[in-house]
Symmetry: C2
Subunit: 339 residues, 2 copies
DNA sequence: TTGTATGCGTTATCAC
DNA sequence: GTGATAACGCATACAA
């Protein structure tokens, strides 16, 4: 490994026969300078391959040009299928303004997330996916003067920005479609351990009422449902009901895909025997033609990036919150009842 | 936004009635200290919610505890379906040692990647996905004393680490399976714009020879093939051949999935009329039951993380290179010929 | 227009 | 065991 000490601005100044102050000013385009001086500095910088130390620069300017991003996990197919789409949105939204992402390492059972992670001055703001920091932790970060953008959480402290999606709208649209297809026995499969999941389940209840359908506890997952890979017993229970559901509304694509796989193993025809609907519009969902509610995950990230920048810029937006619309897209896992 | 100035170590030292040096030592567990002193410092740190400034800390210690990761894009379903798996592997491998990931923002048509990105002192090492930095750029980074780990590139400068996968093995295994199923007319669909793609295509040629099959240029994509969404004409061409292929070996899952979708639209039965094989083992591939070669993407990332740490630690491994094995997994898109 | 001096917050090196 | 002080590399305010 080469140990070539990188050139500092003093090296540069010496080489260009100017003072460090002048060198700094020229490089940052501040003040006026004799053309010859300017050229000498530029030339020397090229020769020395001078790259200013970002750390010290940040220390000086008070800005790091980086946003911390915490995503609870980068798991594949777990509770949140669109994590990476969100990440891309954030990254892109920041890239347009020359900012980078500091991805905080946090993996289950390995580290607890602490507010202090985000207070060491490395980032100008943080974007938080749900599940990592509790309300107290969020308060601590925001209270320390680090702007916070919360994702998929509407119940956040006063000064915290948030970007959510319209779960209610998505569920309503999906249910309207199912009802239009003649479905009356619509079941809901999903857990309750995030705000999104809870909203979707609540919307399911409200959706039934909208169409004059009765809520049947048997047709709705109880609190304890785990991750998609443990959905087997729940599905078995539903299928064994006297009046089994003709449509399965799932809390997200992960559950829907797990359900599809189980149905395939049981040789239950989809969508002919039973319709299945997901939520999120994950890549896998699109690939298999799952009818699902597409959420604008990349936009969620982009919006978060914009809020982060705005807050850093001092914009004391009291209203830096938004709920983005979703789009139900019928594909190949929904059909008229009894076909 | 709160502007609460964060407590510095001098504040802490004053509060604890010790010198900054002692405070620093206590916090970092260096040297021996009277128990009372230690407790005073700890207590004061708690009260003041002291968090050391990571920038200055890095300035002092010369280490940032962060690794820069450059992934050409975070695109969905583009050339590299496993980007996120790799990212997870890197993140995880670093997290175990308390290190974070600085994700460099680089999106197509928005920014060119320059070696200087990685030379501003923000990271201890960098991991580079292919396509971003050319050989000269990599040399520049490594030459400046920043350890580099290249992914999916074996042709790298002397001091650069690299993590690759055994493309040849994967293609051979897949072809052996196809041949065992009775296939003789096996076509290859894929581009050549990455080393992996080229290796896979070359292995296809070698694989044919292995089984005593003749290489037919008509059965192999020409150089110019674009992204998966433009694979239509190529597939049409293959299907219209006098002796059309009975099996399609695709350069990666993205192409394979695109092919599957097109075949579905054309109502060509898979695997009964034609078998399809992908490469990479992406989430989508697993979901649809694509027969594919699974590459250990997360391990690739984890290995890269380990190399990065080793190089940072001064380990002058001349041999910090590896080629990880892959596993062909037959699923639901391959069947005996003519069924 | 250019140069000089100060300070950022921390760690490391040395006296005490 | 503890404390003073230098040094890290840069931007900035101010003097020349």
């Amino acid at each position: 490994v080469g140990v070539a000490r990188r050139a500092t601005i003093s090296d540069l100044a010496r080489a260009a026969a100017v003072s460090v102050g002048t060198a700094s000013n020229v490089l940052n385009g501040k003040g006026r300078h004799a053309e010859t001086t300017r050229l000498r500095v530029i030339e020397a910088a090229r020769n020395l391959q001078f790259v200013p130390n970002a750390l010290i620069r940040s220390l000086q300017t008070g800005t790091t040009n980086a946003v911390g991003v915490f995503t609870w996990r980068l798991e594949r197919g777990d509770w949140h299928d669109v994590t990476f789409d969100v990440l891309r949105g954030i990254s892109r939204g920041l890239a347009e303004h020359g900012m980078d992402v500091l991805l905080y390492a946090a993996h289950p059972h390995e580290h607890n997330v602490e507010a202090t992670y985000f207070l060491d001055g490395r980032v100008d703001a943080v974007v938080l996916a749900p599940g990592g920091l509790d309300r107290e932790g969020i308060e601590a970060v925001a209270g320390a003067g680090v702007p916070v953008v919360a994702l998929y959480q509407s119940d956040v402290p006063e000064r915290v920005a948030s970007v959510c999606i319209d779960n209610r709208m998505g569920v309503f649209d999906a249910m309207a479609h199912l009802v239009a297809l003649g479905h009356r026995r619509i079941a809901f499969i999903g857990p309750t351990y995030t705000e999104d999941f809870r909203e979707r389940r609540d919307a399911y209840g409200a959706g039934l009422a909208r169409h004059g359908l009765r809520f049947d506890p048997d047709m709705c997952s109880a609190e304890g449902l785990g991750t998609p890979d443990t959905v087997g017993p729940e599905l078995a229970r539903l299928l064994s009901l006297g009046r089994a559901p003709t449509a399965l509304l799932c809390a997200n694509d992960g559950y829907a895909l797990a359900v599809l796989e189980l149905l395939r193993q049981r040789e239950v025809a989809v969508p002919n025997s039973v319709s299945v609907v997901g939520f999120d519009g994950s890549a896998q969902a699109l690939t298999v033609g799952l009818s699902t509610v597409r959420q604008p995950a990349e936009e969620v990230g982009a919006q978060a990036a914009q809020y982060a920048r705005a807050l850093v810029g001092g914009a004391t937006l009291t209203e830096c919150r938004t709920t983005l619309p979703v789009t139900y897209v019928a594909a190949r896992t929904t059909a008229p009842v009894g076909t």
